[in-house]
Each structure stands twice: as structure tokens, then as C-alpha cells.
Amino acid sequence: MATSPTTRRSRNLKLLGSAAWGLLALSLIFIFFVAREADDYPGGGPLQRIFYFHVPSAWVAYLAFAVVFISSIAYLRTSERRWDLLAHGAAEIGVLFTSLVLITGPIWARPAWGTWWQWDARLTSTLILWLTYLGYLFLRSLTRDPARSGRLAAVVGIIGFLDVPIVHFSVRWWRTLHPSGPTPADPTRSSGLGGPELLAFFTALVAFTLLFAWLLATRVRIGRLEDEVDRLEIEAERPDRGPASGIPVST
């Protein structure tokens, strides 16, 4: 007997989850026991380790909002429910990780800059990003009809994402305290990290990315199950249609 697609999908999901959490555990070992070089620098030590969580969180947040953007366009073009589920799930995860960025940042900034918050361009743009997608989720919570909710949210998801680079480019014209790594304008600029630190960082980055994929796949699965529950409830309310026999009810 061949395994059903559902079982296979659920096994793949478990595999992805194990890989994400396993790699996350490994990156913790790297961060706390291998990347010790920076401990000797001023501003290094325990404080500097926030970096290994802050930057991967920011990366996942951007990745998530990019997924919202692409899925939103795909949804408007095709009206396929899966794109809407993907966009919704990615937006929730994006808001979660942006929240982590906005929490870990000030914890680091307080001792490093002497202040929790600065109206710095990058900080401000991250806050705007967070507010934009909170609004997106708020909008989704207002509309009951999934097709309408998906359409309206997609419009906001597209506009919100296009706003990001404009906000981001303003970094160049506004004072910034935020440290940045190598840039296209200055590729020789060093990140100041040694080999063990880079190992810890990239392990954490991959681990966070896998974690994102796992969370997103899980969220989409929950969305599908919710749709299924809705469908069964509708069927149960219509006794004249007989027992559920795989007749697709329009969604």
C-alpha cells in the first residue's frame, strides 16, 4: 500500500520541524560555547550574543513579508485559496518575528547606546513595518467572507511591502546609529566577526529560516483544516444534501 499524500505531507512537516529545532539547538551551542572571540572586545560578551537572535529574526521578518507580497499578487491573479492561506500565515509569522526584532533591539541598545529607542531611520522603518502588518491582520479579522477578506488583505499586503524599500532607502538621508554590515556601496567594510562568530551566525540564520518554513507550513495546514471544518459544518446544517460524500462545496 502506498502512503497517502496526507500522511506523506504530515511526515515531511515533522521532518522539517525536527531539522529546524535540531539546528536551532546546534546554533545555541555555537553561540554560547564556540563564538567566544568577540567576548574580549568592548561591547562584546553576553550582550553581543543578542546579535545572533536579532539579525536572523529580522531576516525571517523580511522573508515573511516578501512571501506575503508574492502570495498576494498570486492570489489576486488566480483567486486560489492556497495563496491566501500562505499570505495570511506569512503575515502572522512576520509580525511575530518583527516583534522579536523590536524586543531584542532595545535590550541591546540600552547598554550599547545608552537608550532604549532612537528615532533612527532603521528603527523607525521597522516600527512602520510592524504597524503595517498589524493593520493587515486587523483588516483580516474584520471581514467574515474569506474571498473578500483575502482580496482586500492582498491589496494591503502589496502596498505595504512596496512601502518598505522607500522607507529603507531613507536611511541614507537620515542620521542613523544602527550598525550595518558590508554594503554594496562599501563592500570592503568588515562586519568585525571572526570565523567562529560567522559559523554561529550562519547556523542561526539557517536554523531560523527552517523554523520559518516549518511554522508557515504548519500554519497553512491549520488553515486548510479550518476550511475543512467550515465545509463540514455547512454540510451538517443541510440535511437534505445527505451525508458528506466528497461533494465539493463551493468555498
Partner: protein, 240 residues
């Protein structure tokens, strides 16, 4: 018979909105009243010196310029949001939205018509507000007037594009007044920071040359072009 083109139809729809407003006056009047109320509030709150100086007591000219530019744009922002929330108000009643959708015009034209009407509303508010600021705060724009008008127009284009689109989104939900600021404010922050920054420079004695060189000028144009075009393109998915 010649069928009217895209531009003619778009302008016709704009004229429709303007005529409705001219007769009912229920969008522009609250917008103007609100902007006037905020300005009066500011006039009483800001401690200006008595001797005809456009200086807030003890502050440098740059600070004054920053503060006034900020207040000007905050006033416009709130007045605009109040007005834009009503963009689809007339179409919400008695199925008028179906009549609008039957107009043989591309949806982007429908968006342009609505946006153009909103642009005219906000320009009228500014035509009222700018002289008021000049009077009440002895604001000396002088040679900076022409570039200032350009900045105002550029901010308005971005504001109206995002405001009109999100008003159409908000009109489709149960809590229209609530959701528009929630959606529009974060998206509008860059355009208003740019507007306030450039306006402040011009009030403090900037010229056309300094305006064009300012980084925010580029931000403003990029915002207008990218979000303006996108808003017109995605509008058709809102009205269905």
C-alpha cells in the same frame, strides 16, 4: 458616434464627485473645519513672542521652522483622513456602487477619478490653511513659495493615492472609519516625514536648488510614482 475616451470618462466621474460635493458640502466642510480647529489650537498652544517675530519664545529659527512644518502636515494628514474616509460614502447608499461599476471605463480610470476629486479637496484645504499659517504664525515663505507649492503637490499625490485606495478597502469592511487610519497611517509616514522635512527647509530659507538636492525630494517622487501606479493597478481587485 464617437465614444468618449479614457481621460474624458475619468474627468466626467471626477466632475460627478465634485458636483455632489458642491451640492451637499459634506466632505469639504468637515475637512476645513477640522484643519481650522487644529490651527487655532496650535496658535494658542505655541508661545510666540509678541514683537512680530516669527519665533517661538527662546527657540532658534530652525526649530520654529521644524515645528511649523510638522504642524502643517499633521493638520493636513488628519483633515485628509477625515475627508478620504467618505470617498465611497455616496456610492454606499441605494446601490449606487453598481451604477458606478457599470461605467464603461477601466477600473484604473475610476480610481483616478476618485483620487482626482480627493486631490482637489485636499488642495482646497491647503489653499485655505497655508495663508492661515502665514497669518497666524507670521510665516515668511517669500522666495520659497514656488518650491513649497511643488512639495505640497508631491505630498498630496502620494497621500491621495494611498488614501483613496485604502478608503476603498475600508468601505468594504464593517468598521470603515476605524480601519482607514490604521491602514493608511503607517504607509503614509515616509511621505509625510519627507514633506515636513522639505517644508521646514523651505520655511528656513531654502530655495529650489536646495530642494532638488535634498534626499527627501527623491523619496517623495519615488513614493508618488511607485505607490501611485500600484494603487491604480490593484484598485480593480477592491471593487468587485
Amino acid at each position: 458616434m464617437n465614444e468618449p475616451g479614457f481621460v474624458a470618462k475619468t474627468l466626467l466621474l471626477t466632475r460627478k464627485d465634485l458636483r455632489i460635493e458642491l451640492r451637499a458640502r459634506d466632505t469639504l466642510v468637515p475637512m476645513l473645519a477640522f484643519s481650522f480647529a487644529v490651527t487655532l489650537l496650535l496658535a494658542f498652544t505655541l508661545p510666540t513672542t509678541g514683537d512680530n517675530e516669527r519665533a517661538i519664545a527662546g527657540a532658534s529659527a530652525t526649530t520654529v521652522a521644524d515645528v511649523l512644518a510638522g504642524f502643517f502636515w499633521v493638520t493636513i494628514l488628519f483633515a485628509g483622513l477625515i475627508g478620504f474616509a467618505r470617498t465611497f460614502e455616496t456610492e454606499q447608499t441605494e446601490g449606487a456602487i453598481d451604477a458606478l461599476l457599470l461605467v464603461p471605463l477601466d477600473r484604473s480610470g475610476m480610481f483616478l477619478a476618485k483620487a482626482l476629486a480627493n486631490l482637489i479637496f485636499i488642495l482646497l484645504v491647503e489653499a485655505f490653511l497655508l495663508p492661515l499659517f502665514v497669518l497666524l504664525f507670521t510665516l515668511d515663505v517669500g522666495s520659497g513659495l514656488a518650491p513649497l507649492l511643488l512639495v505640497i503637490l508631491l505630498v498630496d499625490i502620494g497621500f491621495v493615492a494611498v488614501g483613496t485606495l485604502f478608503a476603498s478597502v475600508a468601505a468594504q469592511t464593517s468598521s470603515r472609519e476605524l480601519i482607514l487610519p490604521v491602514l493608511a497611517l503607517p504607509a503614509l509616514i515616509p511621505v509625510f516625514i519627507a514633506g515636513a522635512d522639505l517644508t521646514s527647509d523651505l520655511i528656513a530659507g531654502g530655495t529650489f536648488g536646495t530642494l532638488v538636492e535634498a534626499g527627501w525630494f527623491g523619496v517623495l517622487i519615488a513614493f508618488d510614482v511607485i505607490l501611485g501606479i500600484t494603487a491604480a493597478l490593484v484598485f480593480e481587485f477592491v471593487l468587485e
